[in-house]
Symmetry: C3
Subunit: 347 residues, 3 copies
């Protein structure tokens, strides 16, 4: 699709400087953009590129004063980055909306149903009683088990697997390779040292506006539900165990793991590769630093780091001293010798 | 499927109190259950729900004394949780057994063969000379490479990939997205700084009753076999490198990793996000705490923690002191000053 | 395929001792090999097996002196392991080359195109404008999004997902379940505590001779490209965030993670489960130990360990002292008491 600068200015409520008929068909960084591309200047560090860029249209701050004439068409807005992001979102939305229909071959059980403007890609599988809401896009090679319900405006990327009985809200995005609803890790030890599987008959609920990255795993509850609440965002390769609950708008970075039955509050931030043990609570707004190992509940608003994790500021101080440990040991040794000598002298 | 209380009582050898014709069709937690659901009361903490639950049938201990009359039908058994788990297992077994036949489109090589009561889902791929045992269920979108042999009563969940020449025993369960038999990470450094691939021509063997979680990776051996022995249980997102051996009934939690050629004994327990270096041995019954980094062999029965990991009890003591490091440093400084002063005074 | 010893000797430029017509059809370890298998003896530790092995042909060093007569046919070469590896590579190459054609059902968009000697497996998906080079093998259930370009001699294993607009060079291997080009983790915090997605419109570029293990995730850039440079090797379950760059011939072990916009130089080695924060640089030839947490840039050639990571040698010393912390604390306490006593005596 090709857009003239005039139309773009309309979308971002901007003012054109230069040729309103300049056209663009894709996006580029200001330092790399080619003719026919749209770019933006937000960071002053990149200012010099404004005068050399080959981009056809640049979104730029109203406040910016040109140092010399430019070749490219400018669109003036109050906040260049924000306007650019709005434009990108609009563009992606349009692209998604255009994608409709059912590609063949796909497998849709007779009892499955779906709404308007839905896309179902080739090799996708919809089990019995599956329900798909309006405008949701199911990419190729996705598996949706029996009785799964998916809301409106969702994007389920290629190869996602959703086990039976799970529920997905509206405006949910799930990236490739992610598994929703696999069995929780529950095995009862037997007298002979072997393990007997504890059946996992619960499900997973993803509420509205949840986004899950690629190759993440969210296990179904033993009984009841593993729940990811509204607006929570999960990165790639994360492990969410059975019966976990993640609160509204909490954010979890890549490769972190949350063990069984742990409840995570609202607005919690968990860093990459952090691990949280089972059966604890993380209070609203608490923060867990990357690679931390959290073994106890955390109060609302508190930050922790380290493995095992404790209060962020105290832990940083201990880490600083731990680097001087060989020196500290030497000082203790010197004290011991000095004192021994002193004792010999004085007694 | 709908079952009357009388039939359930028969399966769990329980005694009915109330209406033997009450029927249930699914399971629920006692605090959330709806009419037509079966639940149980094992934990006294949930006792109050017994009098308010909408569940139609409750499995409950023989010993429990009612505080007031209940609406629901009770089934009395010696151990309520155990009876409930038995029921769930039976139910899942029945559901699995009902799933048979070959869905279309699927790809089954002419030289592939399979036994009785097998299910092969749509978009599943069976390569040349593949053999599938009786009653095994191959879910949609599974890939089974050439010459792979899979035993009886296995469940291979959607999207699992098993590379050529691997072997899977009986009663093995593999969850979605898991990859069995990808190449081990072997590259020989070259004089120019580049790397030359070392061909990986071994395979992976999963013995009977192994269960593997979702999105786990088990690499094929360089030569010979990577082996997961009988009854071992692996969680999600685990990395098992080439030529590793995991002993009988060992248990590995999510996101742990085992490097090349390491041998893990029987009944070993490895915590989440733990890492084990290559070419070492973990003795039978040894334990590795979550997030530990094991760089040396561990004797049978020993427990370790930390990164690098060492004796569990010693490490916990060191961790406790490490939190007081800023204080310890301060105390050393005070000692130094005091001693310096004392030396000035006494000499 | 069956090869006589004479033909194998020709390939590795070796000299036959024994029956040149002995035939082999597969490979085995010297201690496990069966009749009809080819093996090698490189490690003197395995010498005894030479006299008991059932392998039909053994590749062995020119220098090795037999202690007694052997049953098997020997092929003498200067370096037995290297000759064996060459043979394996050749064998795998032949096997790959034989695999050509398009299996049905597959989905190939009308605007997609591919070269000579290409293999496209069943249930593979090629989007609009996809281009596949000569001799590249696309295994079953692979997804290739719109506008993706893949070079020659690549192997894309079953179930790999490559999102739209990504670029893959020549001789690239990607293992099962790996996701290339999923959205970077970018969300702008809103005043109400929720998060607004930052569109991710860049792509991923894998240069020539890159190999990526199974279930690894490489996110597309926000704008521009996430780049894995020539000859870099990535293991399984690795997270590469948006706008990261990995230099030529760098090697990353399993379960490591690299956060957004970090630049990793040439010939860098990153251990398993290590984590690297965003927006830093790792100099050429630097080394990161397993499980380290790197929070600052590293100079070329430097090695680090620990979480947070610092100089390798210093960190090892601190780790050694940290194990003696309870003892050190005790020594400080004794010093305090001794000094207190001394002060009482002398003052």
């Amino acid at each position: 699709m090709i857009f003239p600068a005039s139309q773009i200015a309309l979308i971002v409520s901007g003012k054109i400087e230069g040729d309103p008929n300049a056209t663009v068909g894709s996006f580029g960084k200001i330092e790399e953009a080619k003719e026919g591309q749209l770019s933006f200047l937000a960071n002053p560090k990149y200012e010099d590129y404004l005068y050399t860029t080959r981009a056809s249209v640049i979104i730029i701050s109203e406040a910016y004063e040109l140092k010399q004439p430019v070749q490219t068409t400018l669109i003036r807005v109050p906040d260049a980055y924000s306007a650019f992001a709005t434009l990108l979102s609009k563009y992606q939305e349009i692209m998604q909306q255009q994608m409709t229909g059912v590609q063949e071959p796909s497998y849709i059980a007779k009892t499955a149903s779906y709404g308007q403007q839905v896309f179902i890609g080739a090799f996708a599988y919809l089990g019995e009683n599956v329900k798909i809401g309006n405008n949701t896009k199911i990419y190729p090679q996705v598996y949706i088990g029996n009785n799964v319900v998916i809301g409106e405006n969702c994007i389920i990327h290629p190869g996602v697997k959703i086990y039976h009985d799970c529920q997905v809200g509206n405006s949910v995005t799930i990236h490739s390779g992610t598994v929703i609803g696999s069995d929780g890790f529950g095995f009862a030890p037997q007298p002979d040292g072997s393990f007997k599987k504890v059946p996992q008959i619960g499900n997973v609920i993803l509420e509205d506006q949840v986004e899950v990255g690629s190759n993440t795993t969210i296990d179904r509850a033993t009984i009841g539900s593993t729940i990811i609440r509204k607006g929570a965002k999960l990165d790639n390769l994360i492990q969410i165990a059975h019966n976990v609950e993640i609160g509204n708008s909490s954010v979890i970075a890549a490769q972190a793991g949350v063990s069984g039955s742990t409840k995570i509050g609202k607005g919690v931030m968990i860093g990459g590769q952090a691990g949280i043990v089972g059966h604890i609570q993380l209070g609203d707004g608490s923060k867990v630093n990357a690679q931390s190992g959290v073994s106890k509940s955390i109060d609302a608003g508190k930050a922790v780091t380290g493995s095992p994790a404790y209060d962020y500021t105290s832990a940083l101080r201990s880490q600083a001293v731990s680097r001087k440990l060989p020196d500290l040991e030497k000082r203790v040794k010197e004290l011991e010798q000095l004192l021994k000598q002193l004792l010999t002298e004085t007694r």
